[in-house]
Symmetry: C2
C-alpha cells in the first residue's frame, strides 16, 4: 500500500492507495498498445477537443484537487490553485499545437530526374510511460506536461504516480480518464499505475515505446539504464538535477542591492526550494558589502515551508550539513523553519571563487531545498573558466546594469559561456518560474537532462514523442491526410 | 599499422597506415574542443563557402580518390565515381541548408503580462566523433554525410577512419583538411584518426559531445554502450542493421513478373549486396509460379562482386550457411561469384509465411551481402501480423498494380503497418539508393537505428548535432545575430 503523509504533521493523510499488481500493469500496457493505432488515428481537431475536455474537467474539480493535494504536499492553496491553472493551460496549449500542425514537420521533396519523390511526416512513437515528479503534484504529475504533450502527439500514456501524493494522483487520474472517455478516446489511451515495482515493470514492458521523467539524478539514471538495457531500447527523456548558477555583475550589485537580495531570497525559498530551477549558486562581486548585507537580511527574513516528504527533508539536512562542513565555506545567513517535523530552514553559505573552484564538483551538487551558496569573485573575467567546470544546467542567470558598459560587455561574454552549458539563459531575472509558451526550453546538457536536444516544458515538448517516416513515390490516395494536404508543395524551405 | 587489402586478390593494397597514438588522439580532441567556439562563430555563409571548398577540392581530385578507393574496396570505377559526386553533392546540400537557415529552428515568444520574453535557437552541440562505414568509402566515410552535416551545424569533426580503406581515408582527410584550412576554418575543425583503439579513446574523450556511426549492429551497440557509460554520457546516432522487407502484391506479381524479378535481383546484388538497404526479405504470393520462375532466372544471371574484406566475406558465408540449414528453408536460385578469394555468390532461398514466422527472429536477421529470402504468402491479410514481429527497419517496400483495387487496398493497410515499423515506405520501388534530398529520412525504429527520431541522410541529418538554447528577457544587442534578425516576429506558427 502507498500511504501519503501530511508534511505539516508527518502523519498519514487519508487512506493508502493500493500498489498496481504485475497483472494489472501488463493489462494496462497491452491496452495502451491497442490504443496506439486508433488514438493517433483520431483527427487532430478531435484530439485537441479531448485535451480541452480534460482541461475543463480538471478546472471544474480544481477546488477538490487542491484540497487533497494540499494535505499530501503542504504546498498551500494559492500555489496549488495556480498549478492546476498552469496544468490546464498546458493541456490547452497543446490543443493550439495540434491546430497549428507545424509539429508534424512535413517536408516534401518532389520527384526529379532519377530522384524519387519523398514526403516526410512525423508520427506518434507509441505508448509513453510518464514518471511523475514529487514537487509539482499537477504540472509535472498525472496530468502534467509529459502527459499533455504525449497525448497530443497521439501517444497513449501510462503514468507512474509519485508516492508523495497518491490520492491526488488517483483523483487526477479518474478525472482525466473520464474526460478522455467522454471525448471519445479509445480504451487504453490513458492509465495510472502506483508503486515503484509497477513503474519498473511498465518501463520494461515491450508495449512501451518511450518514457518521460522529472526527478532526482539518481532515480533518473536508474530508469535511463533500464530503458537502455531493454531487449528493444527506448528513448528516455529525463529531466534531472540542476543548480542554476546566477551571476550578479558589479554594476547591478552596486545599483540595486536590495532588489537583487529580495529576488534571490524569494526564488531560493519558493516552494521550500523544491524546484529544479532553484538558484543554488550565486556569484557576486567580492567586497560588495552592501549586497552581502542585503542578502543576509533578506534570507534572515525567510521562512522555510514543510518539505514534501521525510526523505526529502532528511536529504536536505544532510546536504546542508555537508556544505557547512566544506573547507572554506562559511555561513552567511539563515531563515527560520515553519512549524512541523519536515520544515526546512533556508540557509545560505559563502565562499570565494578560488575555493569554490577547488571544491568542485562537490560544491556544485544540487541540494534540493532552500540552500544557497554565494561565491564572491574578484573579476568577472575569472568567471568563464569556473563556469566551464560546472556540469550542464537547466538555467544560467546574469544580472547586469544596462547602463554600465562594463556589465554589458561582461554579460555578453557570460551569455556566450552559458549558451553552451545551460538550456535557458536569463537576463535580470530569476530561474524559478518556467513559462509554458511556444519558445520555452526546459532542458539542458547533462546532467540537467538525459536527452539534451529536448524540452519537457513548452510547445516543442511534443517533439519527444514523434519520429519521422517518409513515403517514397506514393500515390496521393495512400498518403496520410496531412501529407495529402501538403501534396502540391515542396516545403523544403520551412523544413530543416 | 593498418593495412588495406585489394578485395580482388586478397593481397595488400599499398603501404599500411599508422594507427593514431593515444597522445595524438588527445591532442586532436583538445584541438577540436578549441575549435568548438570559433567554428560555429563563423557566419553561416562562410561555413557554406568552406563546405563548397571541400566539395570542389574533392571533385578536383575525384580520379585520384576513385583510383585508391578501387584498390581498397573493388567497388569499381563507375560506382565510386558516382559516390564521390554524391559526397560532394551532399556537402553542397548542407551549404543550401545553411543558406536556408530554417535548421536554426528559431522560435520567439514575446513577453506578456507576467510572462517573460523567450527567444529560442539551436546551437552546435560541440565536437563530433564520426565512425566511418566500410561500404561507402566516400558517402559514409571521412567526408560523408555525418561529417558534412556536423561541420554545417558548426561542430568540429574527428573521423575515425574505417580499417577497410585506410589510404582512401588518408587522402580524403588531407583534401578535406587542406580545403577547410584554405577556407579559413580554425585549426582543430577537422581531423582523422586511425585504428579501433584510437576510435574508442576518442569516444571516451571529454571533449567529444556526440557521435555518429554507420555499421554493424554489434559494433554500433558496443560504441553506444561506451557513450552511455561515460562520466558525461553523449548522444550516439548509430545506423545499424536492416533487412528491408519488400512485399509484392498479387496484382503486381501477375502484371509484371519479369520487371519485378529484374529489379529485385539488381537491388539484391548491387555493390555485392553490401548496403544497409539491401532487400533481405521478399514476400510474394504463394502459387505465383511466373514470378518465382522469373526471380530464379534473374538471380541465376547475377554475378557477385568481391566483398569488402575477408571478414565480411566469411560472415556472409556463415550467414548463408545458417540460412540454408534452417528448417523449411530451401534454395530458390543462385548467381555466380566473380573471380577472386572474397567474391560473393548471390543466393536466394524460399520459405512459406508460417514457417518464416516460426523461424523468427533468426530468419529476419541481417545477412550483409547478396542473400535473399523469398517468403510466399497465401493472403496479404496474413502479412501485417508477421510484419509486426519484425524489428525496426530502415525501409519497407510495397509493389502493387495501381489498377487493382485489391492491391491498392492491401497497399494502404500495409503502408500503415510499415509506417510504424520503418523509416521509409517505398511504393513500387527498391530500397537501395537513398536520395540525398530535403525530405529524406534514413533511419528507423530499433535496431535500424539507435536514435529513431533522426536521419543520417538528407537535410535534416544536421539536426543530430544541434541542441536548443533559449534567451529570457535579453536585450537584443546581446542576442546571437540570427535571433536579432528574428527579434520582431513571434515565429510560433512555424515552430513546434
Amino acid at each position: 500500500m502507498i500511504q501519503g503523509y501530511d508534511p505539516r504533521t508527518g502523519k498519514p493523510a487519508g487512506d493508502p492507495v493500493a500498489e498496481t499488481t504485475d497483472d494489472a500493469v501488463d493489462r494496462i500496457a497491452l491496452a495502451a498498445a491497442a490504443a496506439a493505432g486508433p488514438w493517433p488515428g483520431i483527427s487532430r481537431a478531435d484530439r485537441a477537443r479531448a485535451l480541452a475536455a480534460v482541461a475543463d474537467a480538471l478546472d471544474a474539480r480544481a477546488a477538490d484537487l487542491v484540497e487533497v493535494a494540499d494535505t499530501e504536499t503542504a504546498l498551500g492553496v494559492p500555489r496549488l490553485t495556480g498549478e492546476v491553472a498552469r496544468t490546464t493551460g498546458q493541456l490547452r496549449l497543446f490543443g493550439e499545437v495540434l491546430a497549428d500542425g507545424g509539429y508534424l514537420d512535413v517536408i516534401v521533396s518532389p520527384a526529379g530526374e532519377g530522384v524519387p519523390g519523398l514526403s516526410r511526416i512525423k508520427r506518434a512513437i507509441g505508448p509513453v510511460a510518464v514518471f511523475a515528479a514529487s514537487n509539482f503534484p499537477f504540472a509535472f504529475s498525472v496530468a502534467g506536461g509529459d502527459t499533455a504533450s504525449a497525448l497530443a502527439a497521439g501517444c497513449p500514456v501510462v503514468v507512474k504516480a509519485h508516492e508523495g501524493h497518491p490520492r491526488t494522483s488517483v483523483l487526477t487520474g479518474q478525472i482525466v480518464a473520464d474526460a478522455l472517455a467522454g471525448a471519445g478516446a479509445p480504451a487504453g489511451t490513458f492509465a495510472v499505475v502506483h508503486g515503484v515495482p509497477a513503474g519498473i515493470r511498465l518501463l520494461r514492458h515491450p508495449a512501451i515505446s518511450a518514457a518521460g521523467f522529472t526527478g532526482s539524478t539518481r532515480g533518473g539514471l536508474a530508469l535511463a539504464r533500464i530503458c537502455a538495457e531493454r531487449p528493444v531500447p527506448i528513448p528516455f527523456f529525463g529531466e534531472l538535477g540542476s543548480v542554476n548558477p546566477v551571476i550578479i555583475l558589479p554594476g547591478a550589485a552596486a545599483a540595486r542591492p536590495a532588489a537583487i537580495a529580495a529576488g534571490y531570497a524569494a526564488s531560493l525559498t519558493l516552494g521550500a526550494g523544491q524546484f529544479c530551477t532553484n538558484p543554488g549558486l550565486l556569484f557576486i562581486p567580492d567586497g560588495d558589502d552592501d549586497l552581502q548585507a542585503a542578502i543576509a537580511e533578506a534570507v534572515s527574513a525567510t521562512v522555510g515551508g514543510p518539505m514534501l516528504s521525510e526523505r526529502i527533508h532528511d536529504s536536505y539536512q544532510e546536504a546542508v550539513a555537508d556544505l557547512a562542513d566544506s573547507a572554506s565555506v562559511e555561513p552567511l545567513a539563515a531563515g527560520r523553519p515553519r512549524e512541523g517535523p519536515w520544515a526546512a530552514t533556508p540557509q545560505v553559505f559563502r565562499t570565494g571563487l578560488a575555493d569554490f573552484a577547488a571544491g568542485l564538483p562537490a560544491l556544485a551538487q544540487e541540494r534540493f531545498g532552500p540552500a544557497g551558496l554565494v561565491i564572491t569573485y574578484q573579476s568577472a573575467d575569472d568567471l568563464p573558466a569556473v563556469l566551464a567546470e560546472l556540469g550542464g544546467n537547466l538555467t544560467g542567470g546574469i544580472h547586469a546594469d544596462e547602463g554600465s558598459s562594463g556589465d554589458m560587455s561582461a554579460a555578453g561574454q557570460l551569455a556566450a559561456v552559458f549558451a553552451r552549458a545551460v538550456g535557458r539563459v536569463i537576463f535580470n531575472g530569476w530561474p524559478t518560474g518556467v513559462a509554458v509558451t511556444w519558445a520555452q526550453h526546459h532542458g539542458g546538457p547533462w546532467p540537467a537532462t538525459t536527452a539534451p536536444g529536448y524540452t519537457s516544458v513548452g510547445a516543442t515538448a511534443i517533439r519527444r514523442w514523434l519520429i519521422p517516416v517518409v513515403y517514397q513515390d506514393f500515390p496521393p490516395a495512400l498518403l496520410p491526410q496531412a501529407l495529402r494536404d501538403a501534396g502540391g508543395q515542396a516545403a523544403q524551405g520551412a523544413a530543416s
